[in-house]
Amino acid sequence: MPFQSDDYTIGELMATRISREVRDDTYVSSGAASPVPMAGVLLAQETHAPDMIYVPIGASNPALNLISGKEVFDLAQRGRLDIFFLGGAQIDGHGNINLTTIGDHDRPDVRLPGAAGSGMLYFMTNRIILFRLEHTKRVFVEDVDFITSAGSSGERVERPGGPSMLITNICVMMYQKDQKKFLLESVHPGVTVDEVVENTGFELLIPDEVPVTTAPTPEQLELLRGSIKDRVGGEYPGFVTSGGFGG
């Protein structure tokens, strides 16, 4: 069974988990098509990280659109960006992501939107949180068709940052830098470890005990369904109208 809850949506569960990653007094950014990360970052700002500075790229709300995309890239290259969020049409077990083409690059089956800065951000942001709302074998593959950005680098590459967490609609994984693999951290309510394995095309590390992802508290849900919903809806109206938030 996929994730199931009568009390909160998958977006609310993921946003709540994401919020725990956000540290106070840091810079955090996100890019296009990222309503769940935005909700998670704003939840952190409303709770434990009031002095975190959130600078999403391309927001239409002037209160969120504080600096340009170029300046976000500059912050990252300067080593001052703590978290950025990336997805991937394909993500492999070593943390490589593909946002470029599916199939042979010169005659692709699918032409994707492209790197949009991820080739640099993945290296230079302290922590990259990978997220996907589709946990299937077509997304989580053994090797990506095209390495738009690499999960790890050799010694001659200056690389302070890289993948940290991978969160999907069924589970949470943490990247193990020394082994270049993902470790299953938790499964969402209603999901079994076997289902995660069946729907993942790469080998992942599985501990003996895998807990269930911590549910949002009533206080967190109240915040998410209040001003956070309004602000996320201002940027991503489709996410709200399609039931991204409950209540």
Partner: protein
């Protein structure tokens, strides 16, 4: 600026796509490599902007537009409206591209369609959906081109997309 160094990117397939990018040892960071990307110098830039005045000053949506204009040999700008005042004296609501960087201005209302041009108009999502559906097959794509593009002027296109609902 003949080229620009960038962190990251080394080890991705993006490097393989660009034979003119170079990887050298970072002169400020011994033992580490860094990527160099050469300047792009377009023959022609085509930019859609908000406004132009009689002198060819342009008010554009983004700061990148001015950079693109500076880098290009010829700069063709399409605009939503022509104004009768000097934009260099009142560039409110956008980013100025001064006339020395502009070769040609064309008055093209709705020039972003089906994309949006805030604050003039939003993206036409129905049109995008229609195009997405039509372009799934070669025949559908051809039919789309015949209906909206081939044999039609800009004025005819604008008339069609602003007055006629997209067929279901």
């Amino acid at each position: 600026m003949p080229f620009i160094p960038s962190r990251g990117v080394i080890g991705t397939d993006l490097v393989n796509l660009h034979p003119n990018w170079k990887i050298i040892e970072d002169p400020y960071n011994e033992g580490h490599d860094i990527l160099l990307v050469p300047a792009i110098c377009p023959d022609i830039a085509i930019i859609h902007a908000f406004k132009a005045d009689q002198n060819g000053n342009v008010l554009a949506p983004g700061y990148e537009d001015r950079m693109v204009a500076q880098a290009s040999d010829k700069v063709l700008v399409t605009v939503e409206e022509i104004v009768d005042y000097d934009l260099s004296e009142d560039p409110r609501g956008g980013h100025l591209i001064p006339w020395p960087f502009v070769s040609l201005v064309v008055h093209t209302p709705k020039g972003s369609h089906p994309g949006g041009m805030k604050p003039y108009y939003e993206a036409d999502n129905d049109h995008f959906s229609h195009y997405m559906e039509a372009s799934k097959t070669r025949d559908g794509f051809d039919a789309y081109l015949d209906k909206f593009v081939r044999g039609h002027t800009e004025d005819e296109y604008r008339e069609m997309v602003t007055r006629v609902a997209v067929p279901a």
